[in-house]
Symmetry: D2
Subunit: 439 residues, 4 copies
């Protein structure tokens, strides 16, 4: 967890206080369920809740001190609960094993983290939708291989990002479902000393579903899937961030991160306005992805469990969720305030002397009966001249002066192929697909 | 693709012949759709199909030769189709771009690969279910940290694996849906020169759905998700493989890979029977997982596309699917023929002098009014003696001789805590959860 | 950085105080060099050092507050230095760029981290050497595939680990050399506004060498190599940790992590003594390795630099070094106090009925003129009987009763092949190779 | 191994024929050593070499057929050697274990692969040096964050790449030394049945050094280091490839991959000239890096060995070396034939209205007594006007018209700060550092 790349709501999920609070709820709900089954006195369960209300927040330092002796975190916690509750606390945790508490707690924490991430994506989607409609008809050049291809609109670029984050949202919902399970099944998952109805009760109270079969621990393929999904979403963040970085390049400059008054781009070069937020997002994406492989390596625990996953999760649990939360929020801010320069987009679009229309001419030649190979050759020989002139020559002019071309197409036919709006006839169709509306 | 870790059906998906066949179908179906829309002559579309039927398989070497000159694979393919079709071929690919063919083809290949993997998992699930019921009541020791914990049954271990691969199956269905999209949207995804209805028609014919918004290419977050899921399933393969490897250790030997007549375990040591198949699976899991990060790095293509993803996918596309297919089939074979030794399981279970029952005694003491801390101390001091005797002493005997223990529990009460069947009372419940039945 | 897996000396390298102190030294040494070159007044350089001595530790909160406005960390720092120094501070940083300070600082931090890691490995090597000699002649079974193979000594196992960490140490020295470079070369590395002699001076003062050619930043292939080496060493940690975990398994129990009084192995099962430290190390190894791929993804910065590496390094810089430092120290502690059980090793070694000697018999038969194929068959048929008896039968007895065997070898010859010491004749040779001595 | 990304010399290292030839040499040299020690008849050793010379190439299909039965590759090979040699073959492999052959063979293969890679880097270095000197004084804009910073020369960019691949070369030499070891130490590495002098002899004959302590296998930290180094070099390939991709962008177009006659950039857009080779290299870098984590996961083999590493190495051994060899050669070709456009570089450099000189003015103001903060403000306010004019205004003109500026600096002083050559005064120094010469 890097403080400067953290937001308080996500950080709060991972504090010791938060963890102990969840542990307590799991234990206390389990005790209620045991009391209802007649396994423990109802009064003990009531007393545990009352003592907690009276005592308030947990004393993290005290629990740490006990753990320093026992070298076991759950025992330390229970000892502390016992200190503030009295003898009734001895009924807590009966028939349970530490992992019942730890794994169910992790499920609660990751579920809450997923909820925040889903909300983050929703905020991003709202911004992307607004700006996509704002620029639905703003022409800009589409680029493949970094080279001008054919016209698109800036709104289409944002629609693509919207569709990608819609998928990201659906994946986060899947991720949440993957890890939102509760295991209260005892030392090796047999419910030897605890009734499965306790698990069902705690699951419901904590907003989870029971794990069908656990083995002291909840199986880690679930967590691997969770972090893999975070890695995919981080990669989508990276994609949009890199788009902005490209657009802000000096020679392109079609869009720019908002540059606040007082901000300094460089200690040495006062003229600099750098896309530092999106560069930062590129790096944060690498950090989130770094959680994926360790999470997968965690799956193959030995027999009914080993504890090698634990240190990994102490790292990647907070790190990956906090970093992705921050990255999504930062990306939302960038896209919300992004400075967009339609004039510059148009200037870039036109700088190639009309080369971006070459395909339409090619198709028209083919439809006029020229073989595909010949048509390609005719267009390419004129296109190459324009290319080599760095846009000083005009493809339209050259084509109209090429007798092999004019043998197949009249001047008006050729000119018609250079119409920009032609390319945008299906923008509404695509917006309908992505947003369910186009106006 | 490593031949010895390959199966023919999956390999067939990735041959040049297979790829060219799919390309042809995409192009020819697109031509049909264009003909239906009146864009091209119906006769041209018909001729293309007829010429293909007449010509049969594609001449891969010829296409390669053309590509060596043009340095463009789709143009080389179309040139070859033109050679075997005649002038009508010029109508093919109109308004399309290479990626329309390549990406839709990859979607078909990955979908078919997913279908095979789903079938693989189904076969594995069937074997796991059969063997889980076979050993539903076979007692064996549950181990956490590699140390004896409490009794489970071997069937429960297999039920856990079954539940994990049920999740794997569901994830593969998700993976298939993620990548089963078709893009026929032209050079930058605007449908500038092709009607969206062509895309819809080809999608349906090829068993796909249209990509809502493409940008010359289908967005690579889809493929990242696909390969991430393969990585998670490979990790589950690794988990079960490592379980078998542990069980086959000389000192444990509770189960063993089938050892065929004529097989030699070691060139130097004739007595060896090694778990080489599951060790191999452990390595194969690493190979499949190796595809995950490159697939995620592929997401952030520049602008409307760059082609950096292509070489990665030429590698991981076949490699990860072929390897996982092989691994799942090998694991199914291992589990199908696994030699299981219930007597040895029982012998191991008993070797700890009854220590595995310590928790039940602990709970009984607590319920008899002893404080949790005291109960823990009482059990531990006797348990440690048994531990240090390496199972020569009996925990039951020691407890019955410990006055602090017998002050709380009578001999019959203590003995009752050493009943093995007690641990298996919920096996039916768990089987119901996993298999929807317990008998 | 996970507090429970951190040690103070390594943490200290990465505090804001430490970073600002290094920044100051770089700037102030650079100013001295500029003063010596006559570029700035000597008095200014002197004043900067004096003011710092007078002011003491940096006010981190104040610097953070300035950065919140300027959004630039080095400018914020310089502003603060200016506040505590007076007008002479304006000569600082002349002709330099932020990265001159940041990258050189990172080089200092990583060099110091490397020094600590080298010291960690030295401590581990000392422990491994002591215990290797302690158990130089302690017989134990060597295992391939988890199956008994032939006898080794426990000292040989430790000698192998020693040799591996010797390589690790050499790699850390390489890692240190890779990143111990200084760049004071200005905005794009041309020394346009700063004399290369300033770089040379600062390099020497900070214990670095000048970077031959920098581009505002020090090239990140250096850092990629650094973190890759950390990942390899973490993998060696994992290997030795897994060896201990295997040895501590209930059925093997040839060695055990030290179990301190008061420690509780399980909240539910008082008898448990789990290898939790080495399991933890297995997880920590995954965390350290997680830094490798992001570090490699950092290499391809755009043009003369982009800042995407920065957030990655804010994470992995402290995380990977702190975690590996902790892991090495923990492993040293584990190996130092490891409980080794020679009797149990011998018992395990003997449990296979002498199968571990099968190869020597095979060789003897071959040398007595039996074909390799026949010899293998003869040994295997007797070995399989012993195997199936689970060690109840003796290979020696069976061989002496096999007429095809005795036709080639006399009883004394056969018996001689079962001599344990025979296997240890080269232990001194190996110790000489590893330790440069064998006694 | 992807055929289109493969070169024959590297592929040849990994063929079955090549592997069996190395196996044979290891076995036959070992037999010579044993004969010299009097362990086996000298005639047997001679006969083995003679029979091989007579028989010629190995019959791979025959060996495969035997392996299909024995399920053991080395036994299958030895059986085949026996078939073509006669009874003397029974002396082969005595006291050895399969891994002695397999691991030593892999060491030979990886060493040879390293030699090819070193030669590849040498070829690349030669091209980079030639072109660096060609463009030593070709001015171009240096960019940080994709934004114009200050002038550099194109030769400096190439010098940086040269320095990076010099480091890569040194790392490859390290990688080669890491894996060039020979182990002929028997079933568990004790030399129980083989004299260490055999290992020494074979090592020398095969161009290796003896492994100090092996455990049936050569320790895999060596291979992890090898593949990690390949990953770092691949990342350097990616860096230079991305530089070319950026330079070839339509709006930048300062350099271009050579575009051969007959090449088609796009099936749909005849005007396209895409940086497909460097995009391809970007993807290949991801593939090579994908080998790093599996190689590290291979380190922690169980006890004296398990075979999980084997399948991984069957994949990454050929794949990573073949891909990196191809990538280095492709990059060399790209850089050799790269079309460089100095006029365009100059045009881009000048397009910012002189903003690239802003830092020098800032420094001059400071040296003229203006406080750093004021100087920054003065330069920034003029720079922002130029920035917003998109280069239509001139920074020089504005500064000369700013009374606060002219109060500190005279017109000639200001003009002098806009001298391009000023930035290149240290180019010779840097070339000396990188190439050991500057002319």
């Amino acid at each position: 967890m890097i403080p400067r790349y953290s937001r308080p709501e996500m950080v709060a999920i991972w504090t010791p206080e938060s963890r102990f609070r969840i542990w307590f709820e799991i234990e206390a709900h389990a005790l209620d369920a045991m009391a209802a089954l007649g396994v423990v006195p109802v009064e003990a369960a009531q007393r545990v809740w009352e003592a907690d209300r009276a005592a308030g927040a947990f004393d993290v330092a005290r629990i740490d001190a006990i753990e320093a002796e026992t070298k076991h975190d759950v025992i330390a916690f229970l000892t502390h609960v016992s200190e503030r509750t009295g003898p009734e606390a001895r009924f807590l945790h009966q028939g349970m094993t530490s992992s019942d508490v730890l794994d169910t707690c992790l499920a609660v924490q990751l579920s809450r983290a997923a909820d925040l991430l889903i909300a983050d994506v929703d905020a991003l989607l709202a911004v992307l939708e607004r700006r996509a409609f704002e620029h639905k008809r703003t022409p800009t050049i589409g680029r493949s291989h970094g080279i001008h291809a054919e016209p698109v609109t800036f709104g289409l670029k944002l629609a693509q990002a919207h569709a990608e984050f819609q998928r990201g949202r659906a994946r986060l919902v899947t991720a949440r479902a993957e890890i939102a399970t509760c295991a209260i099944s005892g030392a090796v998952g047999t419910f030897a000393n605890i009734d499965p109805r306790v698990e069902a009760y705690v699951a419901e109270k904590m907003g989870l579903v029971p794990e069908p079969v656990s083995t002291q621990v909840i199986p880690r393929d679930r967590h691997a899937m969770f972090f893999a999904i975070l890695g995919v979403i981080a990669s989508s963040v990276e994609r949009l961030a890199i788009e902005v970085r490209h657009l802000q390049r000096t020679e392109v400059l079609e869009a720019e991160e908002y540059f606040s008054p007082g901000q300094k781009g460089s200690s040495a070069m006062p003229h600099k306005r750098n896309p530092v937020l999106t560069e930062n997002l590129t790096g944060l994406a690498r950090l989130v992805r770094a959680a994926v492989t360790p999470a997968m390596e965690n799956v193959a625990l030995w027999h009914e469990r080993d504890i090698s996953h634990s240190s990994v999760e102490r790292g990647i649990g907070p790190d990956a969720t906090i970093t992705l939360d921050f990255a999504l929020a930062r990306l939302t801010g960038v896209m919300d305030k992004l400075l967009v320069y339609p004039e510059r987009m148009r200037k870039n679009l036109d700088r190639m002397g009309g080369l971006v229309h070459s395909q339409r001419v090619l198709l028209a030649l083919t439809q006029a009966g020229v073989s595909r190979e010949d048509a390609y050759r005719l267009v390419q020989r004129n296109a190459m001249k324009v290319w080599e002139s760095d846009g000083a020559l005009s493809l339209l002019d050259l084509l109209k002066a090429d007798p092999e071309v004019t043998a197949a197409l009249g001047p008006a036919e050729i000119e018609e192929k250079f119409d920009l709006d032609y390319h945008f006839r299906q923008v509404d169709t695509i917006f309908d697909r992505v947003f369910g509306r186009h106006g």
